[in-house]
Amino acid sequence: MSLQEPPSQEVNFIGLSRNDYKGGASTLCKGCGHDSISSRIITVAYDLSINPKRVIKLSGIGCSSKSPAYFLGQSHGINGLHGRMPSMATGAILANHNLVAVGVSGDGDTASIGMGQFKHMVRRNTPMVYIIENNGVYGLTKGQFSATADEGQELKHAGRNELPPLDVCLEALVMDCGFVARSFAGDPRQVETLLKAAFSHRGTAVIDIISPCVTFNDHEESTKSYSYGKAHEDVVTDVSFVPAREELTVNYNEGEVADVEMFDGSVLRLHKLDSKYDPRDKFAALKVLEEAHLKQEFITGLIYINEDRPTVSELSNLSETPLSMMKEEQVRPSREALAKLMAEF
């Protein structure tokens, strides 16, 4: 039960309608997993009453990176260079730490050309939601394998993939990412829950979403197809999200659930801890990922959560006024300061 009801059915807590969160019409292929994820972002931003004017949408290059044009039309968006969105995001967020950043990348963008920037973004703990729309294939260049394609996969033109897949969740975790999750575009409820939690996370929240490419990689043998995902998805954690403004009402027996207080005061409730594993345990998370990696299993859910590590913004000891809003008198030292300096040389 909410503490206060929204003013009407059509608007959220900040008085915006769902339409205020929509973007331009998608130019992606019909049925593309990425469009489903865009819809989830719209829903989540609306539900959480995020002010779209404070959001920045960032992306690199690829089909996935086109998608920020298709959601949150009242947010500033920037479509940068291949694999180099993380650096852009870091600069933008430090320039204005009041912004809420959503990055959308793909498996080509993150796992190949952008792996260096991805890992350094995680290392800095740049506060942002970083979504990888992962389909195992290069779409815009028409059907080459990406580094996340499973071993033994076959593609029409590319042939057989003989190399092991690169696991972006594992890479994020190894670099101390405080929010690592994997989901499936065909599982909208889970995507929404994880996105809500991601928006509440302190630092970099990485969500690797298997998002089938209906044109190049949705065939029978593909491990990144809708049918494969539906048949093989193994949810390793069951979580529910309670926004900061809502009260926790349902009581559970001791040991059944654990609550993780997120940085913004909302709560992430972890269920069925005993049957699965505890995503607050980094070594357990590494084990789960590594085992799934070895067996090529498709696990989803929240894999790791840790709200303790400070972000690059916090470590920069920044003024409360965003750097981008500084007035001249705040950033230009005085005439006297220059005169004093000159006497030192």
């Binding site: 940068g80 995001a89 933008a92 009041n98 920037q117 920069s316 750097l323 030292p333």
Partner: protein
């Protein structure tokens, strides 16, 4: 050139005399000679003698040869000279070569321990028991090599007449007023001076005496000057990757920002500095920060510029302001990364893919390093584009004397940024529409602006005047025409060249950057033998109307620069094709900064053809 130089030897060279000669200290890098050299340079400067210090060092931490040249000039010239009359030989490995290069009449100081044969009869030798004297510092064996360098400071002070009080002041300055290191170093200086008094009969004519040519001036390096300029320019965001010779720019910036740019009450920073994983990320961060409204800066050198290429072009086409300091060096890769070159002009001017022409500022001295430090942000934000400031290793890392820096003479120009109030009144926003001013610059909004009209989507190519996705040929071409308008507008607001028009001169010299000091001297010497020259020193690209007028006024245009291909000459030929046949490139690229003798001789040689 050497034949001409030899013929014109006397007229084109400095006349050696009191306060008018050069000292070269040949040392091993990592031996701590920097302190000794800095102390001598500052002591002479504080005696009122125009002085400059140039460090020729290897890309190495310890064990390779290093030379430091201190020039004193009673005429006020501070460029590098071809010869140094006084050699302080402290590196056994290069000693034979070093001694061979000393001109006749010169002086050689070397350690007695070497037991070398004094084979040249046309130079004066003085030997010093360096190790024995160094021990008078009382320092441990580990630090003795550092102290050894102070032996030549003491010896030179005694032999030349450098005031000991100024040596001590310089040491205090160097050690930030810490008495202990000053005392131990001063003990060596005194011991060496006493040794010279007791054991050496001065048999040369080199000496210095106090004069009054540096009053109210400062001694500084270009990277520090640039860093201070950026701080007074309101820099708010810095991302960088360490690379010689630009590293000290960001290090000094960070150092001074911590003193000058913390909020007094909260002790919070009004700036952020991020050491990036590489130059690609560094400029990526600038793009994000510039887009979001910060005054964003990076400092790098040629290899970093190469890596920044794609985002530089992206920022150009998306109208994102940022400032890149390129402290140029020899390229590519390693081998001579610690040697100077002005070799990035062509690369930087056109950096990117697609039709790009960037704004380049060309500081020539310490005051301009400071001035462009702040002015670059005003230009970048007014023009909504990357601004490249091309300093170089000679400016950036060597010690120059300078007038004191002038406080910015105008308020910060943040350019065309629409506020939420303005947007709500306008009820429309066309990001790349410059129809109001026809200056190629549209209004921009910053992320976070609280208006439903504020948002726009930024992408590299394929955007129309409303920043809406398009692949329509006419819409994209209009964008390119707009960028061309911007370039033409930039031509009217970038700094104009410094022009010295001389009556009766048929020769026009064009140069830029660190060669300025050498050109001033070369023109002085050429004038003395009857060759009048006019001079335009470019401070920016694109060239302004004043520069074009200058080019059209002279029969012969000598474009002097420190690279092999004559890169600026090539740019000028395309900027002013009607002048192309009159442009003659005078260029050299050997790792040293250009000397006045070489410039004068080269121009003379061309004139005699």
């Amino acid at each position: 050139m050497s034949a001409v130089l030899e013929k014109r030897d006397d007229s084109l060279r400095t006349k050696v005399g009191v306060n008018n000669f050069s000292i070269i200290a040949a040392t091993v890098n990592g031996s701590g000679s920097q302190t000794a050299n800095a102390v001598i340079t500052r002591a002479l400067f504080k005696m009122g003698i125009p002085t400059s210090g140039k460090n020729l060092f290897p890309s190495n931490i310890s064990g390779l040869p290093t030379w430091y040249i201190i020039r004193l000039s009673s005429e006020g010239f501070i460029a590098r000279r071809e010869t140094s009359e006084i050699l302080v030989a402290m590196n056994r490995a290069t000693a034979a070569d070093d001694i061979a290069k000393v001109p006749a009449g010169g002086m050689v100081i070397y350690p007695t321990e070497w037991k070398i044969t004094e084979t040249r009869s046309d130079v004066t030798y003085y030997s010093l028991p360096v190790l024995q004297l160094a021990k008078s510092s009382g320092l441990t064996a580990k630090l003795l090599t550092y102290a050894a360098n102070m032996v030549y400071v003491g010896a030179l002070a005694e032999l030349l007449g450098i005031e000991f009080a100024e040596i001590e002041n310089a040491l205090l300055h160097h050690f930030n007023g810490k008495r202990k290191p000053v005392d131990s170093n001063m003990a060596v200086v005194t011991a060496a001076a006493e040794y010279v008094r007791a054991n050496i009969v001065k048999n040369d004519s080199f000496r210095v005496e106090r004069m009054n040519m540096t009053q109210d001036m400062i001694q500084i390096d270009g990277n520090t000057a640039s860093a201070l300029g950026a701080i007074f320019g309101g820099v708010t965001f810095v991302a960088w990757y360490p690379i010689t010779p630009s590293t000290s720019l960001v290090e000094e910036l960070t150092h001074y920002a911590k003193a000058l740019r913390m909020e007094p009450e909260t002790k919070k920073a009004t700036f952020a500095v991020v050491q990036a994983e590489d130059e690609i990320a560094a400029i990526g961060m600038l793009v994000g920060a510039g887009w979001a409204g910060a005054r964003a800066l990076t400092a790098t050198s040629g290899p970093g510029i190469a890596l920044m290429t794609e985002y530089a072009g992206y920022a150009y086409f998306t109208d994102i302001p940022l400032v890149v300091w390129d402290v140029t060096r020899m390229g590519p890769s390693t081998g001579m990364p610690t040697r100077v070159s002005q070799g990035d002009i062509l690369t930087v001017y056109y950096l990117g893919h697609g039709d790009t022409r960037h704004i380049i500022l060309l500081p020539a001295n310490m005051e301009e390093c400071f001035e462009f430090g702040w002015k670059s942000f005003d230009l970048a934000e007014r023009l909504q584009t990357p601004v490249f400031v091309l300093s170089d290793l000679d400016l950036g890392m060597n010690t120059w004397m300078s007038q004191q820096f002038q406080y910015p003479d105008k308020p910060m120009d943040r350019g065309k940024v629409l506020t939420a109030e303005q947007l709500n009144e306008l009820k429309t926003f066309n990001r790349y529409d410059d129809s109001a001013d026809k200056d190629g610059v549209g209004p921009r909004t910053l992320p976070g602006t609280d208006s439903p009209y504020a948002a726009y989507f930024t992408r590299g190519s394929g955007h129309n005047s409303k920043a809406v996705y398009t692949e329509k040929p006419d819409e994209w071409e209009e964008n390119l025409r707009r960028l061309a308008r911007k370039h033409e507008f930039a031509r009217t607001i970038v700094p104009s060249p410094v022009i010295d028009s001389v009556d009766g001169a048929e020769v026009g010299i064009i140069a830029y950057g660190s060669t300025d000091a050498a050109i001033a001297e070369a023109r002085y010497r050429l004038n003395a033998i009857g060759l009048k020259t006019s001079y335009a020193r470019l401070k920016a690209l694109p060239v302004t109307q004043e520069a074009l007028d200058f080019m059209r006024a002279y029969k012969r245009l000598y474009v002097v620069e420190s690279n092999f291909d004559g890169q600026m000459a090539k740019v000028l030929m395309t900027e002013a094709p009607d002048c192309a046949s009159r442009i003659v490139s005078i260029s050299k690229c050997d790792g040293w900064s250009l000397s006045s003798e070489w410039i004068a001789a080269s121009i003379l040689e061309k004139e005699q053809q």
